[in-house]
Amino acid sequence: MRPTMILLGIAVAVFVALPIFIVLPMSFSTSPSLAFPPPGYWLGHYAHFFRDPTWTGPLINSFIVAAGTTLLTMLLVTPAAFTMTRHDFRGKSAINVLLLTPVIVPHIVIAVGYFTYFAKLGLLQTYLGVILAHTCLTSPLAFLTVSAGLKGLDRNYERAAQSLGAPPIVAFFVVTLPVLRAAFLVSALLAFVHSFDETTVALFISGRDVATLPKRMFDAIRLQADPVLSVAATLLFGVVLAVFAASFLRKFFKAGVSR
């Protein structure tokens, strides 16, 4: 039984990781098209990527959108999580379901909805538009993460802070936030990564002006099998990996220091 399970595990890991092992070598390929295995290796495609503003622009856009989404998500989700975990009121369970609907509704439906709605508001092809739409998608998970943290938090921390002279808002920033920093950090990272590689909604509403990296990649593959695409894919993967590695290393480093 156990060897079978191990084999199965390896098979799944290979299956999941395989695309990365194809895309990564291709990005260093000398081939002028997306060919695998590469005939030789060089950094030409990377040079091309970083010299071409139609690629660097979307990369920067992706960072702006992901950062904006993360900020807005946390600003919305934190008070919501406090309210939902600390208070009882009529219609609470209905609001709970409502908060989680973006997970249930297919992205494509959300995308179409925002496309028609934002057109009227003039929010298509604007940072604000993409950030708003992405925030809608990232909020449920961020909400659940922060709520889970808050549920496990002893209220006496805040009470102690207040009895010692901290107004509620100060108590939040000086005590609650640091005590729950893991939950807030994970929540923000998930939001950032989710926004950074989100494609469906970006395709519909980011247009040309604020095109994100995934949107630009989609455009590229429709026109031609440009090997720069593999560079973009590698960078996309690299950023997501870096974000998680950073949080992991931070934890590892901290644990090393305090022990």
């Binding site: 002893d154 006496n156 921390y157 009470r159 102690a160 802070a161 207040q162 009895s163 010692l164 002279g165 901290a166 107004p167 509620p168 100060v170 108590a171 005590v175 640091p178 005590v179 920093r181 305090s258």
Partner: protein, 349 residues
């Protein structure tokens, strides 16, 4: 006008049952008052209302002659120590203790001096830079105490602060808390369900039951003259018995007959409840004394509690271990007590 006064405090959580039901108290400056009661008796809710974490449904709280009902917790200048300490895990011991001073904008040098002084008082000077979670339970509790005292609060509230400690440490901390109270003289309210703790520490004890105050008295007075059957049973071990005052100072137990009792002159005739401490009962020499049937023996090492019956009335007796060495279950003993050991519940004597 007392220093801290609670006037007709009530708290309900939307139901018909009051968590706190019409509590009025007057606490003097510098006093050490204990709220004693079983869990759910309203003592902690009352404390939380004084701290400002809970809003009374009705009633008022005044501190130093000023109504504090509308004052939020962070402006009340009341120190609170929680059962689980609630030390901030991301701050060192010194930063925890300095927290209330930083919140008040006290200059850095003064903060350092006051933190050092308080850490010296709780005897933790060597641990200033330690992380709270590296300390033992008792040490954490003392840090919490220092943190709640460093800003010179008007009142110190302690919510079952020793509940999480083992017995020896608890006794040590009781002495410690009393010493600190003597040194700093801060008005202190101490919540506990442990009657021994209440007896040993307090100037006065407030006994809570079912959201109401049953009795407010000094520890010994409470022990000797419980006003209600609940207090008689809750504070110390006790036999609470139904009796009848036939008049003329004669007390009768149903099924037993007249018993020795010195009654107060204002004692009403008719049915009443009396309290008789198990430790005030002795073995009698003569054969005409009341007969007690031993039904169970509980050995405490230093003393032995006999559970049994006086006639048909269930009764507990506590004897010194030396006096109870040869006793067996089923044995019939002759017992006696001094007449003034009998307390008629609700009377003043």
């Amino acid at each position: 006008m007392s220093y801290l006064s609670l006037q007709n405090l009530r708290k309900d959580y939307g139901g018909k049952i009051f968590a706190v039901d019409d509590v009025s108290l007057a606490i003097e400056k510098g006093e050490f008052v204990t709220f004693l009661g079983p869990s759910g008796s309203g003592k902690t809710t009352t404390l939380m209302m004084i701290a400002g974490f809970e809003q009374p449904t009705s009633g008022h709280i005044a501190l130093a002659g000023r109504a504090i009902d509308p004052v939020p917790p962070h402006k009340r200048n009341i120190g609170v120590v929680f059962q689980n300490y609630a030390l901030f895990p991301h701050m060192s011991v010194a930063r925890n203790v300095g927290f209330p001073l930083r919140m008040r904008g006290v200059p850095k040098a003064e903060i350092a001096a006051r933190v050092a002084r308080l850490l010296a008082i709780v005897e933790l000077g060597a641990f200033a830079d330690a992380e709270p979670r590296r300390l033992s339970g008792g040490q954490q509790q003392r840090v919490a105490l220092a943190r709640a005292l460093v800003f010179e609060p008007d009142v110190l509230l302690l919510d079952e602060p020793l509940g999480a400690l083992d017995k020896n440490l608890r006794e040590q901390m009781q002495i410690e808390i009393r010493r600190i109270h003597r040194e700093l003289g801060v008005t202190t309210i101490y919540v506990t369900h442990d009657q021994t703790e209440a007896m040993t520490m307090s100037d006065r004890i407030v006994v809570f039951n079912g959201g109401k105050v049953e009795q407010v008295d000094a520890p010994l007075a409470l022990y000797r003259r419980p006003n209600t059957p609940f207090v008689a049973g809750f504070v110390g071990d006790n036999n609470v018995l139904d009796a009848t005052h036939a008049g003329g100072g004669r007390i009768e137990l149903p099924g037993v007959g007249p018993i020795a009792a010195a009654l107060p002159s204002d004692c009403p005739t008719g049915p009443l409840k009396i309290a008789l401490r198990p430790e005030s009962i002795r073995l009698a020499a003569g054969s005409d004394a009341p007969a007690f049937t031993v039904q169970g023996i509980v050995n405490y090492g230093d003393s032995v509690v006999l559970v049994g019956a006086l006639g048909t009335v269930p009764l507990k007796i506590r004897l010194p271990a030396v006096a109870a060495s040869n006793l067996t279950v089923g044995q019939i003993l002759r017992i006696e007590w001094s007449p003034d050991a009998v307390h008629v519940i609700g009377t003043a004597r």
